[in-house]
């Protein structure tokens, strides 16, 4: 703390008087500065310094129930609300061939289909009257069932949560409703050009891999209610479940309730389908989808890294400099200097179980499609040609380190984050050492990882747009493969 800062602090703690303030309302404090504003020195945002921030990573408590289930708890009595989320190892990566969409559909119908004790209409009525909610969803690599409730309705809401986890009914009419919605979703999957481009890029980066498969009308129609029941039996058991609970609850009572709710829920040996490791394909590709729109959607990328990669931290710093936010090279050049786009960014999505993708994206008017694409590629390539500046490095590191605390601003975020670290098998000390690992990154590291992990000449490029209006043909970038949209008519 510099001396000016210290003075200010003193001034603050002395409690000053009114002057120009008008106060309103019963809860308003009598207030206002004693000294005249003119006498106060104002700080320069470029050079000002600050008092130290007191921050420790909040900890939740980890408890293992008798049946093997892991529970993380964090009490927070500020508001009369309790949040709870279950994580189970299951997901669309395990969908059997021919039944792609099974995990997602099971996730939708689990909650909506009611339980063996509480039929769906009754479940809906009871929860909504209490203003409680329970929802379920199954994504790529995790199944989640979560509840939110006012404290006074915790007991009943928790009981209904337990029923859904242990004995979902998959009511036939609700299963059919979920299927209809999935089919309508497929019919609508080509409405938004950005959605098309994202999907096609993912398919190009993970060809024939479970990470890029999408449900079809045929696969969704092939899924039976029996499949869903089997899915639930296979993956829903205590040793495959972790729970994050936060908010206004009593620790002892919560653990007692969870023990009781899941007592006698049988475990069985784990059995997960083998999912192949995504294969590295270093060939470039140019894909085009024709859409008559005034703006082209541009996506490019390739395979990236997973969470166990020791270069993760240097890549986070590189990400920030290349494509992270207003200060990034991509935004400054493509948006701010050239006015070619509203949205432009890039990022390595850190894979949790498999290597995630590197993706760069923008949208620009048809007439500047090739210009913006060229620029995007050359700015990416620029990262591999020379070291970043000291200023860029420091900005990136300071931003990542100083904004770290925002990951812990809510108790539900804290406890869910801690569950996810164990659920996905992050190394011990990942959070605790995160800022130090970022702080250690050097300019040489950034260049090294850019050269190792960015492959500007081996990217899959997807453009959705009206090629009649492009500034130059896409074949500038190589031989173009046309993708025709099957609108399932």
């Amino acid at each position: 703390m510099n001396s000016m800062k210290r003075l200010l602090f003193l001034a603050w703690s002395v409690a000053l008087v009114a002057g120009c303030a008008t106060t309103q309302g019963a809860s308003t404090r009598e207030a206002a500065p004693k000294e005249s504003p003119a006498a106060q020195q104002k700080a320069d945002p470029r050079t000002m310094s600050f008092p130290a921030l007191k921050f420790e990573i909040p900890k939740s408590e980890r408890v293992q129930l008798k049946n093997g289930m892991i529970v993380y708890l964090l009490q927070d009595h500020e508001l009369p609300i309790v949040n709870l989320t279950a994580y189970l190892n299951a997901g669309s990566i395990y969908d059997p061939p021919g039944k792609v969409g099974l995990a997602a559909l099971t996730g939708a119908a689990l909650r909506s289909g009611g339980t063996l004790d509480t039929p769906p209409d009754q479940l809906d009525r009871e929860l909504e009257f209490m203003a409680s909610s329970i929802e379920s969803s199954i994504g790529t690599d995790s199944a989640n069932v979560s509840l939110t409730t006012l404290t006074r309705n915790l007991e009943r809401t928790l009981a209904l949560f337990g029923e859904l986890m242990r004995k979902p009914a998959f009511d036939t009419s609700r299963v059919e409703l979920a299927r209809m919605h999935a089919i309508e979703g497929i019919r609508r999957q080509n409405d938004d050009p950005k959605g098309i481009a994202n999907r096609e890029l993912n398919m190009a980066i993970y060809p024939d891999h479970p990470l890029s498969r999408i449900p079809t009308l045929a696969s969704v129609k092939a899924i039976t209610r029996e499949d869903m029941l089997n899915f639930q039996k296979r993956y829903f058991y205590p040793a495959n479940t972790m729970i994050a609970v936060s908010g206004d609850f009593d620790r002892e009572q919560m653990l007692k309730s969870l023990e009781a709710l899941f007592a006698g829920w049988p475990n069985h040996p784990a059995s997960f389908p083998v999912v192949p490791v995504p294969s590295e394909d270093k060939s470039a590709a140019v894909l085009h989808v024709q859409k008559e729109v005034s703006q082209s959607v541009i996506r490019m990328g390739h395979l990236g890294i997973d969470k166990n990669n020791p270069d993760l931290y240097a890549l986070k710093v590189m990400d920030f400099i290349l494509g992270g936010g207003f200060t990034s090279r991509l935004t400054q050049e493509i948006r701010s200097n050239q006015g070619l786009a509203y949205n432009v960014d890039s990022y390595f999505e850190t894979g949790r179980r498999f290597r995630g993708p590197f993706i760069a994206e923008t949208e620009t008017k048809s007439e500047t499609t090739v210009k913006a694409t060229t620029l995007l590629r050359s700015i990416i390539a620029g990262m591999t040609l020379a070291e970043v500046s000291e200023t860029e490095l420091n900005l990136a590191k300071d931003s990542i380190i100083n904004s770290f605390i925002f990951g812990f601003a809510r108790s539900d975020a804290v406890v869910n984050q801690q569950v996810r670290l164990e659920f996905y098998g992050y190394p011990q000390g990942y959070l605790e050492n995160y800022r130090d690992n970022i702080a250690r990154v050097t300019r040489a590291d950034v260049l090294r990882v850019a050269r190792k992990y960015l492959h500007p000449d081996a990217m899959k490029l997807v453009v959705v747009g009206d090629q009649k209006k492009f500034d130059q043909p896409l074949s500038t970038f190589g031989s173009v493969r046309e993708i025709s949209l099957d609108n399932n008519k």
């Binding site: 603050w12 409690a15 002057g19 303030a21 008008t22 309103q24 309302g25 809860s27 308003t28 404090r29 207030a31 206002a32 500065p33 504003p37 003119a38 104002k42 700080a43 320069d44 470029r46 000002m48 600050f50 921030l53 007191k54 500020e78 508001l79 609300i81 009525r125 909504e128 209490m130 203003a131 939110t148 209809m180 919605h181 019919r187 609508r188 005034s294 207003f326 935004t331 400054q332 948006r335 701010s336 200097n337 006015g339 786009a341 509203y342 949205n343 432009v344 960014d345 949208e363 420091n394 900005l395 300071d398 931003s399 380190i401 100083n402 904004s403 770290f404 605390i405 925002f406 601003a409």
Partner: protein
């Protein structure tokens, strides 16, 4: 991440509108809780400061809302409030520049050249092609020259270095809001930057940013069929009131905005008397008051935003808006209604929840579960809240069912509201939901800051949030029937839909 300087249009007008309704209906307050927690302070220059100390984490959400939005634009200013929102990221006389004294004359040349170019362009076919080319080239060179003095994105840079998170802004029909979350020890940085921005903004890189806004328009409204339906539907619903104008402006509006117009708008309205601040998080209110007094206390007030004189005349017959597009059908039905805090607006909040809140709601049960005509249905008030607006029902038909089948089914339910009284249990469920929402809105610093600035601005006081549930509790089954009969008429109806090409 949202990397967009302005989640404007669709987002504020539509998605936020949805959020708004959730929190409108919902968000009301913590009867005693919120009333006890909010501390209010008004500076002599008229600036309102709302504070909620919360010590869950050493972070603070700081929102500044200017009570001037796109409805306050004249016809030759359409899109200006939003463009200004972007421009206020470009720095001041000291930040964002290496040497303002050297930069300033270039900015003036740029403005003169841009205006000449626009004048020539406005001749259309008769424009002198050579002159257009010359002016375009001059403008480009001048912008490059001025660019040498620019320190790129310095606000964002300073905030980022200091751990700022979620630095952004949005514009709506009603206002413009600037957002940042900061570590709690950085509040003086916020005060220094934001007070500088309020007094000394320089609208540099104006004509390049205009291109960015045009890309934003293409992205949100032209290339996205739902965005196009939204914009057209709202424009068609209002014959007279500027609520119908797109916040981002039509493309030709944006093309004709100038830095001169933007500065006039800026200097008139972006002043403390039109500003509301919400500071929520790990703060000491007394220290915060001192800090705000120190940095903002001496800023002179500007012109109060005058009320809009024009009133939307009563609609005398159904209006139908068709958008033919490369997308599956969507349906929107809107009825003109008064806005908050009119008594009937509370009744609409009840109707909204009866119709679409949750799986037990009337429209969800009927359209989605029983008749299976639609995959989703929602309701909200839009496009703004300062002036009379629309109650809108939005549904996605499920093939092979058509827009008109969904439409008829919705009308059947609306007619039921006119004749079948709401039950006590339905009202109790709504009140329980509002009780939950009163707590939920306080879960995040940002969410609470949003509600405080929004309702202080549009309802006249954040205390709207405290009174809302009690007001709703007094609504009777007869009120719901009366309002349904009065407003859900064919004459008062606007119907918008996408027809697949």
């Amino acid at each position: 991440m949202i990397l967009n300087a302005s989640e404007v249009v669709m987002k504020i007008a539509y998605r936020l509108a949805i959020l708004l309704v959730l929190s409108l209906s919902a968000a009301t307050a913590f009867g005693e809780g919120l009333a006890d927690k909010v501390q209010e302070y008004t500076l002599k220059n008229g600036m309102k400061l709302l504070m909620v100390p919360r010590h869950t984490s050493p972070t603070v959400a700081a929102w500044i809302r200017f009570k001037v939005g796109s409805v306050d634009e004249r016809s030759d200013e359409r899109g200006l409030a939003h463009l200004l929102e972007h421009m206020l990221f470009k720095g001041t006389t000291t930040l964002g520049t290496k040497d303002y004294a050297a930069e300033k004359p270039l900015l003036e040349k740029i403005e003169a050249t841009a205006q000449q170019l626009m004048a020539e362009q406005s001749k259309g076919e008769l424009a002198d092609k050579a002159e257009l080319a010359r002016l375009t080239k001059d403008l480009d060179l001048l912008e490059k020259e001025a660019g040498k003095y620019v320190v790129k994105e310095e606000f964002a840079d300073i905030y980022a270095r200091n751990g700022g998170s979620g630095y952004n802004a949005f514009t709506s029909k009603d206002g413009t809001t600037y957002i940042i979350n900061l570590p709690a020890n950085k509040m003086e940085l916020w005060a220094a930057i934001e007070s500088d921005r309020m007094q000394h903004a320089v609208l540099r890189e104006f004509y390049t940013e205009m291109k960015v806004v045009k890309e934003e328009r293409r992205r949100s409204y032209e290339a996205e069929p739902e965005g196009k339906l939204w914009e057209t539907f709202i424009a068609d619903a209002f014959n007279a009131h500027p609520n119908g104008q797109p916040t981002i402006g039509w493309m030709s509006d944006i093309n004709n905005l100038t830095r001169t117009k933007a500065e006039r708008f800026l200097h008139k309205y972006y002043a403390p008397n039109n500003a509301i601040m919400a500071i929520v998080g790990d703060i000491d209110p007394q220290q915060t008051i001192n800090l705000v007094e120190k940095y903002f206390g001496a800023i002179p007030p500007g012109t109060p935003v005058p009320p809009i004189a024009v009133e939307e005349p009563p609609q005398s017959g159904e209006k139908r808006t068709e958008v033919v597009g490369d997308a599956e059908p969507e349906l929107m039905i809107g009825f003109h209604k008064p806005t908050l805090p009119a008594p009937d607006d509370y009744v609409f909040d009840v109707i909204d929840m009866l119709l679409t809140n949750g799986r037990t709601s009337r429209l969800y049960k009927k359209l989605v579960q029983e008749k299976q005509l639609a995959t989703s249905v929602s309701a909200f008030s839009a496009p703004g809240s300062r002036y009379p607006n629309l109650f809108i029902i939005d549904a996605s038909p499920r093939a092979p069912h058509t827009v008109s089948e969904v439409e008829s089914a919705i009308y059947e339910e609306l007619d039921r509201l006119k004749t079948e009284p709401m039950t006590d249990k339905e009202l109790q469920q709504i009140l329980n939901h509002l009780e939950f929402e009163e707590s939920r809105q306080m879960v995040s610093n940002g969410g609470l800051a949003r509600n405080l600035t929004e309702y202080e601005a549009v309802a006249g006081s954040w205390r709207y949030l405290i009174d809302h549930r009690q007001k709703v509790a007094q609504i009777t089954a007869a009120d719901v029937m009366r309002v349904a009969k009065q407003y859900f008429t064919r004459e008062n109806r606007n119907v918008g839909f996408i027809t697949k090409k």
